[in-house]
């Protein structure tokens, strides 16, 4: 296994954390360490966590600081090699056969190959970051298929042979943990469980992401969101919702709405489930007043 030590001039978790901060991503020590180790050891990085804690954002930020193109593969049930890896351009192949006449042509040539995200990343490992998003949405067949890719970074195309990456590509996988991933997949990766950030950090994230939001607003939103997360909701608000809520409330306030009211009227961007809203609405006033205090 190739241990790189430094990649793109980053030689420690602290340096990575600093670089991520410059790319508008506030990483805590755990994620900075995990991401640094993944880069340095040349292993894929598996990020798990509740929806909206910034898993995909982390991948984007990593791509940004490395100055690489982010190739995103969104997983879904039934995703297969033709959507993830490569596909042949059948109409073109068919036309070529028809037009060839007596000449011989190679219908499995480069011209007929359509690159999909994983092949694209394998072919340009030094200029891309591959994001395999929401792996838990895919089925077990695809997970098994990924195992080969993630351990050897090579794939075989029956008609053309094996494609191998010249160096280990940077791969980030995310999962919302709607189902348990296979142990073998976790084993091949550097793993990090992203938790909700601390109140302090979350307030900083809000102010960094939404520059129009005042500090007092950000703190109030964080306090209210923290309370909401302790309620038995079917969909707890994530960091993204916190940012949206702070921004929406600020917008309403600038339009003339008074403070507690601005929070209350924009609750729809934080809680997006009718049942959750109905559950919380009798206590919403008190909750917001408490948070704003």
């Amino acid at each position: 296994m190739s241990v790189r030590g430094t990649i793109g001039g980053i030689d420690s978790p602290e340096a990575l954390e600093k670089a991520l901060r410059a790319a508008y991503y506030l990483a805590d020590e755990g994620i900075a360490t995990a991401a640094y180790l993944a880069l340095a050891l040349g292993k894929p990085l598996l990020l798990e966590g509740a929806p909206g804690v910034g898993k995909t954002e982390a991948a984007k930020a990593i791509a940004a600081i490395l100055g690489r193109r982010l190739i995103r593969l969104q997983c879904y049930e039934g995703i297969d090699a033709s959507a993830a890896l490569y596909e042949w351009n059948y109409p073109r192949q068919m036309l070529a056969i028809r037009q060839a006449g007596d000449e011989t042509i190679d219908v499995y040539g480069e011209a007929f190959l359509i690159e999909r995200p994983m092949l694209a990343a394998l072919r340009a490992p030094d200029s891309t970051v591959l994001l395999i998003d929401e792996i838990d949405r895919s089925d077990q067949e695809f997970e098994a298929f990924l195992l080969e890719f993630l351990s050897d970074f090579q794939i075989s195309i029956p008609e053309r042979g094996t494609v191998r990456a010249a160096e280990r590509p940077v791969v980030v996988l995310t999962s919302n943990r709607t189902r348990d991933l296979h142990e073998a997949l976790r084993r091949r990766c550097v793993y990090h469980w992203i938790d909700y950030p601390t109140a302090e950090r979350e307030a900083s994230i809000i102010m960094m992401r939404a520059s129009s939001v005042a500090e007092a607003t950000a703190r109030a939103v964080v306090a209210a969101i923290g309370k909401l997360r302790r309620e038995p909701l079917s969909k707890a608000p994530g960091v993204a919702e916190a940012v949206d809520w702070a921004e929406a409330a600020t917008l309403l306030h600038n339009g003339g709405a008074r403070w507690p009211d601005a929070f209350k009227r924009s609750i729809g961007v934080a809680l997006k489930d009718e049942e959750d809203l109905a559950f919380i609405s009798p206590r919403l006033d008190a909750l917001i007043a408490e948070a704003a205090a």
Binding site: M1, V3, G5, S12, P13, E29, G30, T33, A34, Y36, L37, A38, A40, L41, K43, L46, E48, A50, P51, Y76, E77, G78, D80, S82, W88, Y90, Q93, M94, I97, R98, A100, V107, D139, Q140, E141, R177, T178, D180, E183, R186, R187, R188, C189, V190, Y191, H192, W193, P232, L233, S234, K235, A236, E275
Partner: protein, 372 residues
């Protein structure tokens, strides 16, 4: 035997930490140990926190066992004195009697009365030993017939078929190359059927004592007959036992499950249990589009409206909701208890759950039913 490679002195503490984790039930592969050592070399053992983080990242303990990992780390590297309380999968257990929730509910008859003292835990926690293994005909039937007879749904993965809505261009082209580019026959694809998710909610309270053991055996058989099965037990707590039951050998699986579930033969708060189930997003997702089977007698001691509300939500998420109660005998069962009357309108099937044979028969008949 001087041929054996000696570990460098500095590495020994780390390798023995991995060994310690392994003996405490963490599954760690050799390659992960290698990565762990490389990670420490990279970070330079500057402070214990770095080592802890490196272990978290490379040894990948599952999030629900983070606390156990941290404790072992403390014991091994920092010389902590704490005794490891093996609460196994802490995140997989939801206690139902929290402060401020359900305080007004009637005291549970077969438990110590909660006298307002916080220190007194009203749950009668017990551990259960399973009787000797006796595979019954019903379980054998379940294992044999389940793969074919359980409900299926249309998946999103495609497979070749004689006829179907899509053309299989890949195969068609391959064949046409053999025929000098002439398409003799257009091959087709259709969507492949997949087994539908199943969710078993098993009541392990005192009133279900006679059935709970058999029900868990049944869950184990089902779990190994078909993929995508989730199993929870409830009484005064809600416990996910899927992982324990996934162990193939029955005795092992039941020992693990018996250890995990600590509210055997206690009281029941079905409403609170189902509410708690729905409130954990990860758990609630298991019910979506699933075949949901509740094995309970519906002798609710808690709040009826909470139960009703939970069942309404559950039935909205489920593909089909079955309630199997030992009280229902015969096909023309009319519920008599208040709880069952309250939930009857929202349950698709309310049938006999009094014997393994009856439960198996119902589960296997679900494949012929449609969504409700």
């Amino acid at each position: 035997m001087s041929e054996t490679l000696q570990l460098p002195r500095a590495a020994r503490a780390f390798v023995s930490f991995v060994a310690l984790l392994r003996t405490n039930g963490f599954a760690i592969a050799p390659e992960q140990t290698t990565a762990f050592l490389e990670a420490i070399a990279l970070l330079g053992p500057r402070d214990p926190e770095d080592i802890r983080q490196a272990g978290l990242a490379t040894l990948a303990p599952p999030p629900e066992r983070r606390a156990a990992y941290d404790l072992l780390f403390k014991i091994h590297f920092l010389g902590g004195e704490e005794i490891l309380r093996d609460d196994g999968e802490d995140e997989e257990v939801v206690r139902l009697q929290e402060e401020g929730r359900g305080d007004e509910a009637a005291p549970l008859a077969d438990e110590i009365n909660e006298s307002g003292e916080m220190a007194v835990r009203a749950e009668a926690l017990a551990e259960r030993r399973f009787g000797p293994d006796r595979p019954s005909d019903a379980l054998r039937r379940l294992a044999r017939e389940a793969p074919d007879r359980l409900p299926r749904r249309r998946g999103h993965r495609r497979m070749r078929a004689r006829r179907g809505p899509w053309a299989d261009l890949r195969r068609t082209l391959r064949e046409s190359v053999r025929n000098d580019g002439e398409v003799m026959r257009l091959r087709r694809l259709k969507r492949r059927a997949r087994p539908r998710k199943m969710l078993l909610l098993i009541d392990v309270s005192g009133s279900m004592k006679a059935r709970s053991e058999d029900n868990l055996r049944l869950a184990h058989a089902l779990l190994h007959a078909t993929p995508n099965v989730e199993v929870f037990t409830f009484g005064t707590r809600l416990t996910r036992v899927t992982r324990a039951l996934r162990l193939k050998r029955r005795e092992q699986a039941f020992t693990a499950a018996a250890h995990l579930v600590s509210d055997w033969d206690g009281g029941t708060r079905i409403g609170d249990a189902l509410q708690a189930f729905l409130a954990v997003p990860r758990f609630g997702g298991y019910a979506r589009g699933a075949v949901v089977v509740v094995l309970s007698d519906g002798l609710e001691r808690g709040d009826l409206s909470a139960l009703r509300d939970a069942v309404v939500k559950l039935s909205r998420r489920a593909w089909r909701l079955s309630w199997l109660t030992p009280l229902a005998t015969g096909s023309s069962f009319v519920p008599q208890t208040e709880a069952l009357i309250a939930v009857r309108p929202f349950v698709d099937d309310m049938v006999d759950g009094g014997s393994s044979a009856a439960v198996v028969a119902h589960v296997l008949s679900l494949g012929q039913r449609s969504a409700a």
